[in-house]
């Protein structure tokens, strides 16, 4: 045995293989806490949920519940509108913060506030501002000569309020991402464009847009998956009111499971969204790697 030690000092094929096996063991050893986490707290819950959702009757039941169908639409509207509007605005605003202007620099510091403040305080502030009786929004409208509106008591405006909050909260983060994206575009491209006498709009169309296309797609998809699972905005802003008409998937699943005691309905709600979610995730993994 002592001889193998000597031999391994000058690597030959079997020794290299041994080292390679040793490396695999070492790598897995360092990853063992992570692997344990994946097995026990990611794969097990997912398989558990799929197992609970195997009963086909669940889907017949929930799809005949009008609240569930309405919730699917709410989720599509909430995710679709808030993510797309937010991403578009972020892309546009990132131009503002990419300038050398002093005012824009000071603004970019303050601009982070909504992102830094936790969800609950922000949502509660919005909720009070939109209060039909004592909210500042209606007060300002009244002062300007318009009638107030019970924003959170009507379905369309309640969902709109959730969307507006989402945009307010997450616009800064994605804008910063696009600022970073713009900064990584080689300056020479713009200089060449200017020499060729292009307008700013043309430079945006033919330089910025193609260079940021991948980033924009990745960010939009990522944000959509995150927003698809959002619980706290709807829960705190509307609580599903009026009359359970403004739920999204996660708040409805919460209502089914923990308020009505129908755990299989809750599982069914998430399972319904799982194919789309997994598709998005696999596209993202392929793009990012």
């Amino acid at each position: 045995m002592s001889q193998t030690v000597v031999v391994s000092a000058t690597p030959n094929p079997p020794a290299r293989r041994e080292r390679w096996l040793g490396k695999t063991a070492l790598g897995l050893a360092f990853c063992s806490p992570l692997l344990l986490l994946f097995l026990c707290l990611v794969l097990y819950p997912i398989l558990y949920m799929i197992y609970m959702g195997l009963d086909r009757d669940i889907y017949e039941d929930i799809f005949s519940d009008p609240i569930f169908i309405q919730t699917l639409w709410n989720t599509v509207i909430f995710v679709g509108v808030s993510v797309n509007v937010k991403m578009f605005l972020s892309l546009v605003l990132s131009a503002l913060f990419n300038t050398e202007n002093r005012f824009a620099r000071i603004l970019s510091g303050l601009f982070l506030l909504p992102w830094a403040i936790p969800s609950l305080p922000g949502i509660l502030a919005f909720r009070w501002m939109l209060n039909g009786q004592w909210g500042i929004v209606n007060k300002v409208l009244n002062d300007l000569g318009f009638a107030g509106y019970p924003w959170l008591v009507r379905r369309p405006t309640a969902i709109a309020a959730a969307i507006v909050y989402h945009i307010w909260k997450y616009l800064p983060f994605w804008t910063l991402i696009f600022v970073a994206g713009r900064r990584s575009i080689p300056k020479e491209l713009y200089e060449a464009g200017e020499i060729d006498g292009t307008t700013p709009l043309q430079r945006f169309r033919y330089i910025t847009l193609p260079m940021l296309r991948n980033l924009f797609m990745i960010c939009s998809l990522l944000s959509m998956v995150f927003t698809l699972g959002d619980f706290v905005i709807i829960k705190i802003m509307t609580g599903g009111a009026p009359g359970d008409s403004t739920h999204v998937l996660s708040t409805l699943a919460y209502r089914y499971t923990f308020l009505m005691g129908k755990i299989d309905w809750g599982v069914g709600t998430f399972i319904t969204a799982l194919p789309v979610t997994l598709l998005f995730i696999f596209i993202l993994i392929r793009w990012v790697k």
Partner: protein, 280 residues
């Protein structure tokens, strides 16, 4: 870029609009925390007679709604700190393996990491609840901490791995020739080098758990066991809740994250997404 004429006007117009849009809700939150109970129902754009009474009530637990304020702060803090510690251990170890060792299975681990980062946490709420009930962990901080670790570790591994890749491999080789084992390399060479992103992911993990609402609602109950955001949500259960006191809690609870974000914002935006900028 110098702006002239209507463009300059439009530029500053957009800036002012953006400033109002961004700051007004925050301003209003702070303002509400300074009004008296009577003024709460007379909406104004500014405070006429500001008072610190709400903060006093909150900090001395002088009102029924904030009677457990400090215990709840402690709960928020302890869950966030324990999560951060665990995430740092898991993240540094895992990222070391992915960044410094070539081994079979590393690609699978990378995919799983990314998968766990992206999947919305609420989607697993029901199986997690069942699991925690099966293991009799409902009502314990451990249940919340385990879930927080699950959803923050992937990001930690990803960021640290991304950074660890950039350290030249010669350093490890040189140490190995000097007779250092993998553990020595990990502790003496790797850890000191990845300190900057460790600060960032510690912030991330801390704030993620500090902000968590759903899983605390699911797993913890009772005034003395819940965290601050859940206590704030409980104000909504009654119609006569003192929103001025609620807003003082909101401001106090927002201060640590705001400080953290402003200190570490540069690190927080890096990583996953900016990585895809350069590769695009």
């Amino acid at each position: 870029m110098r702006l002239r004429g209507w463009r300059k006007g439009a530029f500053y117009g957009v800036c002012v609009l953006l400033l109002v849009w961004t700051v007004f809700p925050v301003y209003y939150m702070v303002m509400l925390s300074l009004v008296t109970w009577e003024d709460l129902f007379k909406p104004r754009l500014y405070v006429t007679n500001p008072t610190f009474e709400n903060y006093y009530q909150t900090l001395t637990q002088g009102n029924y709604f904030v009677s457990q304020f400090w215990v709840q702060m402690y709960n928020s803090l302890s869950i966030a700190l324990l999560t951060t510690a665990a995430v740092l251990v898991i993240g540094t170890l895992g990222s070391y393996a992915l960044a410094r060792i070539t081994f079979r299975g590393s690609r699978t681990i990378q995919s799983l990491t990314l998968f766990t980062y992206i999947i919305p946490s609420s989607f697993l709420s029901i199986p997690f609840f069942k699991m925690m009930a099966d293991f009799d962990l409902i009502g314990t901080k451990l249940s919340v901490i385990l879930v927080m670790i699950t959803f923050t570790s992937p990001y930690a591994v990803w960021i640290l791995w991304d950074y660890g890749k950039t350290i030249p491999p010669d350093i490890d080789d040189a140490a190995m020739i000097d007779g250092a084992g993998p553990l020595a390399i990990f502790f003496r060479i790797y850890l000191p080098l990845i300190l900057p992103p460790m600060v960032a992911i510690a912030t991330y993990a801390f704030l993620f758990s500090w902000n968590e609402y759903l899983y605390v609602v699911l797993f913890l109950s009772g005034e003395t066991h819940i965290t601050i955001p859940v206590a704030m949500g409980n104000f909504l259960a009654t119609d006569d809740a003192p929103w001025n006191i609620l807003m003082s809690v909101a401001v106090l609870y927002s201060i640590p994250p705001v400080i953290f974000y402003y200190c570490f914002r540069r690190h927080l935006v890096s990583g996953l997404v900016t990585g895809s900028v350069t590769s695009a």
